[in-house]
Symmetry: C2
Subunit: 389 residues, 2 copies
Amino acid sequence: MPADFPIARRMHDIQPFRAMRILVRASELQAQGEDVIHMEVGEPDFPTPPPICEAGARFIATGNVRYSGAAGIPRLREAIARFYHDRFGVDVAPERIIVTNGASGALMLALGVTTNPGDEWLIPDPSYPSNRHFVRAFEGTARSMPVDAATAFQPTLAQVEAAWTPNTRGLMVATPSNPTGTLLSADEVSKLNAAVRQRGGIMLVDEIYQGLTYGVADHTALARHDDVFVVNSFSKFFGMTGWRLGWLVAPSCHVGEVEKLAQHFFISPSTPAQHAALAAFEPATLALLEERRSIFRDRRDLLLPALQELGMRIETEPQGAFYIYADVSALADNAEELAARLLEEAFVATTPGADFGHHRANEHLRIAYTTSHQRLEEAVERMRRILHR
Amino acid sequence: MPADFPIARRMHDIQPFRAMRILVRASELQAQGEDVIHMEVGEPDFPTPPPICEAGARFIATGNVRYSGAAGIPRLREAIARFYHDRFGVDVAPERIIVTNGASGALMLALGVTTNPGDEWLIPDPSYPSNRHFVRAFEGTARSMPVDAATAFQPTLAQVEAAWTPNTRGLMVATPSNPTGTLLSADEVSKLNAAVRQRGGIMLVDEIYQGLTYGVADHTALARHDDVFVVNSFSKFFGMTGWRLGWLVAPSCHVGEVEKLAQHFFISPSTPAQHAALAAFEPATLALLEERRSIFRDRRDLLLPALQELGMRIETEPQGAFYIYADVSALADNAEELAARLLEEAFVATTPGADFGHHRANEHLRIAYTTSHQRLEEAVERMRRILHR
């Protein structure tokens, strides 16, 4: 590599997913014939619901797979608006819904239209790692707010007020949260948004795991606020990871800017994925997704006490997504080393906390229940043998 | 809109596609029952080749539509490498090929890993408008190099040498070029790259319209250079616009950085599109695409003299893509007004030069031959009636 071959400074601050290293090593072990149980994976183990696949295949059979408008096909934007109405009783104008290349595309657009160089975004630590890298990509600064089990791994009003500076542009929260599976209540969202708006800032609410909650009702920030950015996805609840489709709901005043940026960044979202997603809101699909939700709930109910019995601490019950963020400090000095040991000796893959931030990251593992009941039981048994021999 | 609701400064510099306004107005006219001939559209009128659609549908039928690795599925990266070998006799390591969300994703990654705030990229004017906006998005500066028919709308070595400053990070070129349909020879690419590398810069070669050349042989910058970024796409030659799939070939030293950024920006490219694209290189598909290329050539051969007869000046023969960039200064004072007149009175949609830059933009229209022979003849006849009544 020529010494003068330029690499942008931002790349020094942008870290690879550690989960990728786990995945590569897990694949090596599998190639050697080992039976690896995957609890590191952030995608449902269920296939895409058949009605969605069928709608996608029907569209592709026409051959007429052209660009759509940058904000997506009107029918899908309207279908999403109807979904908000039917599920939450909320009216969202279809014009405010921009269909994107996964939630990744939605995050990129929301941050691209709002973030100047030097602007700070308040981001809980731990949280989804790409969030801070999107901020960095646009030359903003991700300011971490350490959160832990005492506040359900969610930022408090006092914390946001204390962390706010004249350079702060906004606050990002996620409910349910990746990696912790914890929620903010509608009231908490409203209090945070009031504080943010009072300071002239913006709140971005990640609702990517919406629909995957257990024992508590779903909600959306849009029910009370039309001045927030909401990011959502067809990947998790709807089981469409590989299709790469999500959406952004923007405040009306930002829609034109978002659409302009989407034209240049993406031209349009995938049209096969958009036509497939039209079937995501059909009653048959929603019924299947509800069955899956109850399976996820059963898995959580199995795994949570089992991990606690192994000596992991989970002080706040995860009520959403498909993750348990377990405090493993009683079992090991270093979560990353523990993850390596669990993989090498028990063939159980998990994600070390360091993927999600710095705050007590070395004391935590993210354990996904994106595998069957039987495999989860097997994983617990294997971990028990390693941890308590 | 609350006065304090923040919009990033970059958005003031990022312009919407003017072609979109044309498209909206054309749709209105169609809704009123008018028969609009579309010569403003940058996508082939042919459907996606059936073998590609069939491969995509077969994959979707498995239901197993999951994330791939951020750089794409190994089989597709290898298929692209084989394509370079079979078509151009060039060996490109599959590891250097990163499959992306359209060429848009490839441009974003190449610029994201190389561009610091304040860095300048030399970009021909006219050129694909999003290029300069990608540079702006990462807080770089797009420095326009005015080009015209005298140099086939391509920058010269002298021009690049004169425009280079200590802040220049690199040079972007496109061959074939959008909007002009003109090419750089392999020798010209090499000379430009030598000058750029000598100055410690990077060359990014847009080969998105590769395969669509008429009467001249195709080439790729990769045949002679492994220190350039090459952007390519399944949209144009392969007829896969709506699938959103392209690729980036990066210098080896940048591959790790590109992959890291792709993880965060996109997670992965669309897996249905990737599995569909595996069929793009099959002999039956390539044979069909060659037939389409000869149809595009016939259309160009029809349209070029016809436009010249109408009084448009086209001094350098477009040899690629599916565009003619016509100097209309003998027919109107202002190309944008002419485009509006052609649309309103002749129901012929074209794209004004202002979409592609500033340099003599008001003297040019981009006219796409992405419609049938018969419709092109009809369009010429309608324009004749308006221009010479």
